[in-house]
Symmetry: C2
Subunit: 342 residues, 2 copies
């Protein structure tokens, strides 16, 4: 497939794992890309590797404003309010996106500042550890899901998004595609509910399992094998990152956690019966896992025999701005489909 | 290390994944080994591969009685009562062991029949799928933990085990060592409590996670990546096997499940606070996982650079029958240590 063209330069704020990898990937395309990093040492490391970077936020934003760059907020959640304020001051006309793993809080901040017309949210689902420039590498986004939000198009009284916002949305989709990701449209709330189930809840269960296993002492840890190792793997993630994800998505995570607690409490009751019976949980869990395996197909399989695994996600072709295109995005969201912009 | 010698032939009842793999491994040693399989087709397949097998239980047990074989019960739990009765009838003098993943129920059946003096329980922690002779292969037990019980040595009024039982225990330990496993002594209750935490609870949590993810519909399954895939992997195990393990260990599993539910309920409460805070769970989970990683070291790592990974389990050298040897087994159990019999 032809690589899509981007209508403007890209300015990346924050050069950690995600921002740095994005800058590296863009270097091999026709797109002009440059970046800013708050820590001078990180900026120097990126400059030493030959990239166009600065540790001066104001100057970087003024440059972005001058060449109408697409700004990518590639910092953790905590830095977003400050960056939004800086954008308002120094780059008031630039469109921007972000890569934060929970979209609700960012969307709130954007709305509070009246910046909706300039914003399209993003979430590349690749990597969780923000370990600075040194962790960044090319190819990080290859075949990864990259969620792109479109809530602004559905704002009340705003029956059809502007041409400018539509162009911004198109460029964010192109950006994800340029680095090999699969773009999946989703509204903020739907995204946050989905990741609560398949990303945040797995972390919570892994933490609990690690603790209960550890409570069993030396014998339990000595006997622990594959099921315990796999089930606790993500409990080894940096606690600050796990907390940032889960705590900023508290509402959706509570809902998912309640469902899990109910299932476990029912299982507890069924174990207590004179004839312990776990048929309900185990049969439903097995069917669910088989459905997931069928759905994910070759994706993520390291033992695939295919040299170029093909995505098993359904695909929808969308022309931004064409009649009904927002309806197509909603349809893609319902299907978990990736889109191709043409 | 020198391969240990076994003082008698080995007779394996049940030639599925565990029993079949044991028979295959013993074929390359000096030990005489033969087997029985209830299904004639399984017995024929093993015979066609050149092994000494039969589908006649009575004849096999009579042979075992005649040459004083060590009998290995290598069937699922459901067949154990029938086999014990058959042993009493046709091989009343043979010592025996088993490979069932929960030890309490088997120990109850053995005690009900007054067969304690002839029994040493075993649990090779390798494989969960009992898929018949065709799934069996050599090397299955290499570096695996093989738990060996010793409750009979602590029976009231039986201050010191008999020479005959001590020889039987020694032969079971030799058997595990012969096929490359690491022998870990444990009493029945301690074993069952440990595996509830590190094997049965992981299955229960995986089932629940698979269901909650699936409840999120197409978008959630489309976005699911590594943490969900790892966290639900064992939900893909055959439901009948998962239920057999968990339901026969209901008491210990309830205790582990209660601990998990309490941790999750606390997390739920902390998410509900005005400032969602998961510090307690996430920090404790992280520390537990790090402890497990440190403890398991190279074990089970597929990315190890070491060509012959060395076990990180502590080791105790034990001479069965020597003064204080049962105390050493209890010490090894407390440490989750492997033992070397000399």
């Amino acid at each position: 497939m032809m690589k899509p063209a981007l209508s403007r330069p890209v300015c990346i704020l924050g050069l950690g794992l995600i921002g740095g990898s994005l800058l590296r990937d863009l270097a091999s395309t026709a797109v002009t890309a440059y970046g800013y990093n708050r820590s001078p040492s990180g900026a120097r490391a990126a400059a030493a590797d030959g990239f166009d970077v600065s540790d001066n936020l104001e100057a970087t934003l003024q440059r972005a404003e001058k060449d109408n760059a697409l700004i990518v907020l590639a910092t953790p959640m905590g830095a977003i309010p400050t960056l939004l304020n800086a954008l308002n001051e120094h780059a008031p006309h630039c469109g921007f996106t972000d890569v934060v793993s929970v979209k609700g809080r960012v969307w709130d901040l954007v709305q509070e500042r009246g910046m909706q017309e300039r914003y399209v949210g993003g979430h590349p689902m690749a990597g969780t550890a923000d370990s600075g420039w040194k962790a960044s590498h090319t190819g990080l986004f290859n075949k990864a899901a990259w969620v792109i939000t479109f809530d602004h198009a559905l704002d009340e009284g705003d029956s059809s998004p502007t041409e400018e916002w539509t162009r911004l949305w198109t460029d964010v989709a192109h950006l994800a595609r340029l680095v090999g990701a699969e773009t999946i449209p989703s509204r903020v709330k739907h995204h946050d509910r989905a990741v609560a189930r398949i990303s945040h809840l797995p972390h919570i269960l892994a933490e609990a399992l690690a603790i209960v296993g550890d409570n069993g002492g030396a014998l339990a840890l000595s006997l622990a094998a594959g099921s315990f190792r796999d089930g606790t793997r993500v409990a080894g993630s940096a606690p600050s990152l796990v907390r940032a994800m889960c705590e900023t998505n508290a509402e959706a995570l509570r809902e998912a956690l309640d469902e899990a607690i109910n299932l476990l409490t029912d299982a507890r009751t069924n174990l207590d019966a004179p004839n312990a019976n776990l048929e309900e949980l185990v049969d439903a869990g097995y069917r669910s896992r088989i459905r997931f395996e069928a759905r994910s197909g070759a994706r993520g399989r390291t033992d695939s025999v295919s040299p170029a695994p093909v995505s098993t996600r359904p695909v929808l072709r969308v022309r931004p701005g064409a009649p009904g295109w927002i309806g197509q995005l909603i349809q893609a969201e319902n299907l978990g489909a990736r889109i191709e912009v043409f």
